[in-house]
Symmetry: C2
Subunit: 343 residues, 2 copies
């Protein structure tokens, strides 16, 4: 029965008062106790296998050593590594992670409320919208919060995101380098920073590379999924049948593009190149393997955890602007190739 031993037991056994035992056990207050007494208490605690009761401690100190994490659509494979990374860093810091999943269309607010009722010490949200009421409130209430993967337009709380400008730059330059000129974009939802940032990046890079680009070269998928990507790609190809390349908002949308391209009687990688984003697992096993922008999700989770730990320890104030933009790299595969000669 681990944990049956209370501080009282330790104190009695060591022949000191509980308060003394408490101070001896706590590294921060240890200095006010006689070193010999400290030794004695420590020895007894070890022998008895004493473990402080987290609830009792938390009640008094008003800390739960618990982090709340909200994940949208946990079935999306990008979130596994993200959670794993965060969890490992939090675990090393003595924190545990309460996880909550919110399916697409679900309401984040009550979930966050539940987490706060549980008195989590901080939050990691992977659910931010570009304009996010929940985040604003958390900011207003001074609840240590870190955003991950997505962020808000206005800086409210720290975030760890990937540099979409850079990521899209990688694919656009890659495509242009291959000789593509007529490039389209099947964007993700533009009310999310990821969809928006990539969309912006697409425009920016096309222009800066001196290529014509207009809004009609873009279609928006309602969601970062295969099916919506497929439908958006259909619309795009119908309007602009002579595109030689499509930059997809993420890998799943890219897979939707594959399907649409085939339905138009063309071959992916030969007639029309496609790029994805995120570089999820198994992408290299698709037909053809998809060129994508590799996003370090595990690292993203780790950085988010470190950042939040920093906020919690008071080392960093969340009023100072801190945002981390991770740099992606390009995974080139055979879904991208020079445009066909007759193009």
């Amino acid at each position: 029965m681990a944990g049956r031993v209370t501080l009282r037991d330790v104190a009695r056994e060591a022949g000191v008062h509980t308060s003394t035992a408490s101070r001896a056990l706590n590294p921060a207050t240890r200095s006010v106790v006689n070193p010999e007494t400290v030794e004695k208490v420590l020895a007894v605690a070890r022998r008895l296998g004493y473990r402080p009761h987290p609830l009792a401690r938390g009640l008094r100190t008003n800390q739960t050593m618990t982090i709340g994490m909200v994940i949208p659509d946990i079935e999306n494979p990008i979130f596994g590594p993200l959670v794993a990374g965060a969890e490992s860093v939090f675990g090393a810091g003595g924190y545990s992670v309460l996880i909550t999943n919110v399916d697409r269309g679900g309401n984040v607010k009550p979930l966050v409320a539940t987490l706060l009722e549980r008195r989590v010490d901080g939050l990691v949200l992977a659910t931010a919208l570009r304009e996010d009421e929940v985040v604003s409130e958390l900011r207003a209430q001074d609840i240590p919060t870190v955003l991950v993967n997505r962020t808000t337009d206005e800086y409210l709380v720290p975030s760890i995101v990937v540099d979409d400008q850079a990521g899209i730059g990688l694919v656009v330059r890659h495509l242009v380098g291959l000789g593509h000129r007529r490039i389209g974009h099947v964007a993700g939802p533009r009310h999310l920073s990821t969809g928006w940032g990539r969309y912006q990046g697409f425009f920016g890079w096309m222009q800066s590379l001196g290529l014509d680009v207009s809004p009609e070269q873009v279609e928006e998928a309602e969601w970062f999924q295969v099916e919506p990507g497929y439908r958006a790609a259909q619309r795009l190809l119908e309007r602009l049948p002579d595109l030689t390349a499509i930059v997809a908002g993420n890998d799943l949308i890219g897979l939707g593009c594959y399907r649409a391209i085939r339905e138009f009687g063309k071959e992916v990688g030969r007639d029309v190149s496609v790029t994805g984003y995120n570089d999820i697992a198994l992408l290299d096993l698709m037909q053809p393997p998809m060129t994508s922008v590799r996003v370090p999700f595990r690292r993203m989770g780790e950085e988010a955890a470190k950042l939040l730990l920093g906020l919690l320890s008071g080392e960093r104030s969340d009023t100072e602007t801190i945002s981390v933009r991770l740099q992606p790299i390009l995974s080139v595969r055979s879904s991208t190739a020079p445009p066909p000669d007759d193009a």
Copy 2:
């Protein structure tokens, strides 16, 4: 500031003692309080937005309303739905889920110890080995525990698994029905109930369908991953080049088989049929789309949560044998076809 209001505040405002307020608020003890008083307290609590402090309550009642969940290799896509399913049921029951990931080869014991120190009310483990010391200890300590996806050989605690016997039956009968006779098996690790059960099922079904089957038709992948699956498939095909079908231990192993088959100059689905297991996302987009056994992971998570909730409420005793075997169904795709004529 949700939660700043304490029971004391409510009691004072309602003009009653805290104990009365407490009883009025708790449905179980409400009957002992005058209905009018109850109304009054309830009204005040609502007005003030009172939320009980979970730590204070937990300290007294010795319950944290928290469940610990241990996931192996959280990056594996099967665990997303499983976690989501469990989390939604637990959430509805007022429980929160502390999640812990253990990477392959990691040690589960200290993670469980941490969770127990946190005083979780129960555990869901997706990490069971066929002989599992940790599970035995939990059983011995009477800690409400449920296993999910994998189970132990000896019945120790309740589990929710898929019926591997039935699942393998689906694929073997499917293959035999297509005309295959020389069928091999690339098994998953046999120290896990999933690897073992499918291996057993393969033998059983082959025999019961009157086909020759010997251990040399089987190779074991060290892990449920593409790469180990590939290596095992290589070994198998080298030994038995005339196989017309391979039953893979799971989808990822199946994808490894794809690669090995191609390296042997054959075509998947035409020369050699392949079946997977689990039916993970994107499998339908592989080349060729893989026939697989669909396992309802979300449901598995839900059932696990329900079962554990049952144990916790005392409705069910964990001494009575309870195990749920979910029934899988077959997703037929084009990785399976009749054997080639010359075979």
